[in-house]
Subunit: 209 residues, 2 copies
């Protein structure tokens, strides 16, 4: 029975995610999700309690997806620096989908984001995996605090780029992915610069360095 | 007459901004703004056309405020590096007010942000001032493209920190400003690292550098 309930929930969430991607957070209405999933509204309420329950479950599922990707990258091969770049790419790819960034933004506007235990669990799991992987490598070892600061900044910047990037790119006359691409590049640069470091790095081949 | 209309508009916008700060974007309703401003709803519609007109004017006013601050800093004294740090502080301070970030987020969710001519004008003015100031200094001169990339990343990160920072900070068990503080520090680091630079900077006092 439990497994069947899980399958029903997953089916409804897939339908809700499809609606979200196609039509934005405003389309996440009970009757629309029911129509998309081919179930009754009562069935959805049975599994999720309220329409907010569906929306929160959707965010939780997306957070878990991102966390699982981050954990796989953390446990993969390569130097810390290579894995960091892969992690940034994966993170920015998730919120390159405007629907994902918009759902997160919509949740933040409702001031409910900090009450999501599943999101917290996903974030903590990803942080633990990355901090642990960082400790085990020889190159560019960072303190757990530094890893956490970098991950949180990455999440904020990826979310901000997903939500505001296309508009800002258009406002300065650039193609839609401009803002996202340069924000990711800035984060990459920040990751190469250790904390507390304030001097100008030498230019390549600069003889005065 | 024009001056009186401007004063009426400004009065309504102050009332709307007060409501926004106190109660969030959801409180920006015509009758609430009218009550707060002590005018009729008809008077507001006369000046702004629709409630969306009030909201857009509010965003435009906030963008202009930020741009004017950025321009004053760009034209102020100090090295590029000092002015850049001042600019980052000013930018993050604006969106440290959750209401400001939430209004911008609310606008982004409605996909109207790229239709705001006043926001575009404010952004362009600020970019011009910063690029021009950068050219005139001797230290750390950056190309106009590099300045623009840094400013756009700054805006995205400050918006992301304003909207998602408090929730993310809470999720990792930190005080409310944690995410904003570390995101600003990461940007500061990125600004110290020139484009294309991929090597690890020397640690202070590292004899191998």
């Amino acid at each position: 029975m439990r497994r069947q309930a899980d399958a029903s929930r997953a089916h409804v969430l897939r339908a809700a995610q499809h609606l979200l991607m196609a039509r934005g957070p405003g389309a996440l209405k009970l009757k629309d999700i029911a129509a998309e999933a081919g179930v009754t509204a009562g069935n959805i309420l049975h599994h999720f309690g309220t329409i907010e329950g569906v929306q929160r479950a959707l965010i939780a599922r997306m957070a878990r997806d991102v966390a699982d990707k981050a954990i796989a990258i953390a446990q993969g091969t390569g130097t810390n620096e290579m894995r960091m770049a892969q992690g940034l790419d994966a993170l920015f790819a998730v919120f390159a989908d405007p629907a994902a960034a918009r759902l997160a933004g919509w949740l933040a506007l409702r001031e409910e984001a900090d009450s999501l235990e599943e999101v917290q669990k996903a974030l903590t799991d990803a942080l633990d995996a990355i901090q642990s992987a960082d400790r085990d490598r020889q190159d560019r070892t960072r303190s757990p605090d530094e890893v956490r600061a970098f991950v949180i900044t990455g999440v904020i910047t990826a979310l901000g780029a997903g939500l505001f990037g296309p508009s800002l790119s258009t406002l300065v006359g650039e193609h839609e992915t401009y803002a996202r691409d340069i924000a990711r590049e800035m984060l990459r640069r920040a990751s190469l610069t250790p904390p507390g470091w304030t001097k100008r790095p030498p230019a390549d081949g600069d003889p005065s360095s």
